[in-house]
Symmetry: C2
Subunit: 336 residues, 2 copies
C-alpha cells in the first residue's frame, strides 16, 4: 500500500465509496431526526453547515465497527450519529478558532451567522450526542457514551496543544504527532470502536478496532497537513498555502525544523500579515528540498500500515474487515 | 416572603451563607481534582476564570438535594462538581457571545486569553461533567448524566432564543419567561434534583425538587434582569444600564412593551452605538414609570413562592428543606 500524491484527483475506491454511500443513507435520516429536536434558531444555522456535505467517514466506521464485531448495522446507527455530531461540532468551533471563512466550498457557519450562533450550535451538537446515547441507557450505550466522552476530551486536548503551539516557534515531530493523535486520532478511534461497543463485543476486539482508528487518524492528519500546504484551492476549498499563511505547526514544518530548516523564520512578512505569492512559493520549495513533504507522506504510510495490521489483531468478520481496509485507503488517498 | 430592593446591600442569610460555605469547602477540592485532568494549556485559562470565585449555589443545591432525599452529602458531590462545570462553561461561552469583558470584577476569559481558548476551555468543561458521571456508571449516575444532558440542552435552547431575540423588536412576557426558564431555570432545576437522583430518591421527590429549582431559576432571572438595568456597577461588576446598552430583551423590557412603552424605540443612539448618560437615565425613568421594575420584582416574588411551595410536595428531610428555602431567599435577595 503506497500513498498517492494527494494533489492528483481520483475517483476513489468503489468499495469505500459504496460503504460511505450506505452510511450516509442510513445515518443522514437519523442525524436529521436528532437535530430536528434542536430549537429552530439553531437548526437554520446547523442546516447551512450540514448542507456542505461531509463524507460520513466517521459514520461509516461506526457502522462497520458494529458489523465487524458480528453485530447488526442498525446497532451502530446511534453511535454513528453521535460521532457525526461531535465531529461536526468540532469543525464548527475549529473554524471560529482558526478564523476560517470557507469549508466544503461554502461559507463557514460563523462567517455566515456570527461567532455567537456558531458557538451555541456546536455546544448543542456535542450535548445532543450524549443525550442520544443516554436516553435508552443500556449497558452498551452507557459504555459508548463513556468512550465518547474520553475521545472528545482527548480531541479537545489536541486542539489546545495545537493552539498553544502557535505561541511557540516550533514543535518537535514527536510533539506534533501527539497533538495530531489527539486532534484527529481520538475521534476516529472512537468511531472505529463505538459500533463494537454497542454490539457488546469483547474488549480485545474493541481495542483492536480502536487501534486501527487511532493509526488511521495519524495517517489522515499527515495527508491533511500535506494538503494544508500543497493542496490546490479547487480541491481543498481553502487558499493555497493556507496553513503557511497561519504559521501552523504541522508535521512538514516540524520535520523541516528537525532538519535545520526554519520555514517561518524565512518569511519576510511578519505573522498576521498575508504572505506574498513569492513567499509562499519560497516556503514550498524549502519544504520540498529538505524532504519534509516526502517524510510526512512516509509517516502517513507507516500509520496506514499499522492501522491495517491492527485489523488482524482480532477475529473480525471478513466482509467488514475488507471494507474497513478500503475506508482506510480511501481516507488517505482522498483528494478533497 | 417579599423581595427586597436588590440595590440595597445585605449580609445575607446566615443559614444560606453557611450552606454555601460548606458546599464550597466540599466541592472546590473535587472540582480542582477534576479540572487537574485537563491539559495544562487549558488549566491556566480556566484557573483565571475560577479564581473569580462564584457563589457555589448550584453545588449547594446539589448537595442539599442529596441530603433532602435522605442521602449522604458525599453522594451529591459528583453531581455538584458536574453542575459547577456546566454552569461555568456556560458563563465562559456567554461572555464571548455577549462580548462582556468583565465578570466578578475581573477580565473575562476570552478578553484575557482570546476567543479560541475560551471556546475550547468551555468545551472541555462541559465534556468533563459527563465524563465524571460516566466513569463509574452506576444506574443513579447514568440517570444523573441523562438529566444533565437534558438540562444543558434546555439551557442552550434558552440561549439560542435569547440571541434570536436580538433581531426582534420585542418579546412578549410569555416568550421572555420561557426563554429565561430555559437559560437559567433548567440548570438550577437540574442542580436541585441531581443529588436526589444520585441518592436514588423516588421520582416524586426528584420532581418536587426539580420544580423548586425551576421556579427558583425564573425568580433568580427576574432579579438578574432588574440588576442588569438598575444594578450599580460596584455591585454587579458591570456598567450601569448594561442590558440597555446591549438592547437586551429582558423581562422589564417585555413588560414595558406590553404596557405600550417602547424603551429601545425611545433611544436616539442607534443599536451598536454606546448610549449617552442622558439616554440611560431616560430609559430608566420610562421603565420605572410604567411599573416594569415593580412588575418584574412581583414575578420574581411569585416564582419564589412557587419554589417554596414545591418543597412541600415531597417528604423531604426537614433540615435540608429549611436550608433549601434559605438558599432560595439568598439567591433572590442577593445584591452581587
Amino acid at each position: 500500500m503506497t500513498l498517492t500524491n494527494p494533489r492528483s484527483r481520483r475517483d476513489g475506491d468503489p468499495v469505500a465509496t459504496e460503504v460511505l454511500a450506505r452510511a450516509r443513507s442510513l445515518v443522514q435520516p437519523a442525524l436529521n431526526a436528532a437535530t430536528s429536536r434542536l430549537s429552530p434558531e439553531l437548526r437554520i444555522a446547523l442546516d447551512h453547515h450540514l448542507a456542505g456535505g461531509g463524507k460520513y467517514v466517521r459514520a461509516g466506521l461506526a457502522l462497520l465497527s458494529a458489523t465487524a464485531a458480528g453485530g447488526d448495522e442498525q446497532v451502530g446507527v446511534v453511535g454513528a450519529v453521535a460521532m457525526e455530531l461531535v465531529h461536526n461540532y468540532s469543525l464548527i468551533h475549529d473554524d471560529i478558532i482558526d478564523g476560517d471563512v470557507e469549508r466544503r466550498h461554502r461559507r463557514t457557519l460563523w462567517a455566515e451567522f456570527g461567532v455567537g450562533p456558531a458557538i451555541i450550535v456546536g455546544d448543542a451538537m456535542s450535548i445532543l450526542a450524549f443525550q442520544l446515547l443516554l436516553e435508552d441507557p443500556t449497558d452498551a450505550r452507557v459504555r459508548a457514551a463513556g468512550l465518547l466522552g474520553e475521545a472528545t476530551q482527548a480531541m479537545i486536548t489536541g486542539q489546545a496543544e495545537d493552539m498553544a503551539s502557535e505561541l511557540r516557534s516550533s514543535l518537535s515531530v514527536e510533539e506534533c504527532l501527539r497533538m495530531e493523535a489527539g486532534k484527529t486520532g481520538a475521534l476516529l478511534s472512537c468511531s472505529a470502536s463505538i459500533g463494537a461497543v454497542l454490539a457488546e463485543a469483547p474488549t480485545s476486539m474493541v481495542d483492536a478496532l480502536a487501534d486501527y482508528g487511532s493509526h488511521l487518524g495519524v495517517a489522515f492528519q499527515a495527508v491533511d497537513d500535506v494538503l494544508g500546504i500543497w493542496g490546490e484551492s479547487s480541491v481543498t476549498g481553502k487558499p493555497v498555502g493556507s496553513d503557511l499563511r497561519q504559521h501552523k505547526k504541522s508535521l512538514p514544518i516540524s520535520i523541516a525544523t528537525e532538519r535545520g530548516v526554519d520555514v517561518y523564520g524565512s518569511l519576510a512578512s511578519p505573522f498576521g500579515q498575508d504572505l506574498t505569492e513569492k513567499e509562499v512559493a519560497g516556503a514550498l520549495a524549502l519544504l520540498e528540498e529538505c524532504g519534509a513533504r516526502q517524510e510526512t507522506m512516509a509517516i502517513g504510510a507507516t500509520h496506514l500500515r499499522l492501522a491495517l495490521e491492527a485489523l488482524d489483531q482480532a477475529p473480525l468478520a471478513s466482509g467488514p474487515r475488507r471494507e474497513l481496509a478500503a475506508i482506510a485507503s480511501f481516507v488517505i488517498e482522498r483528494d478533497q
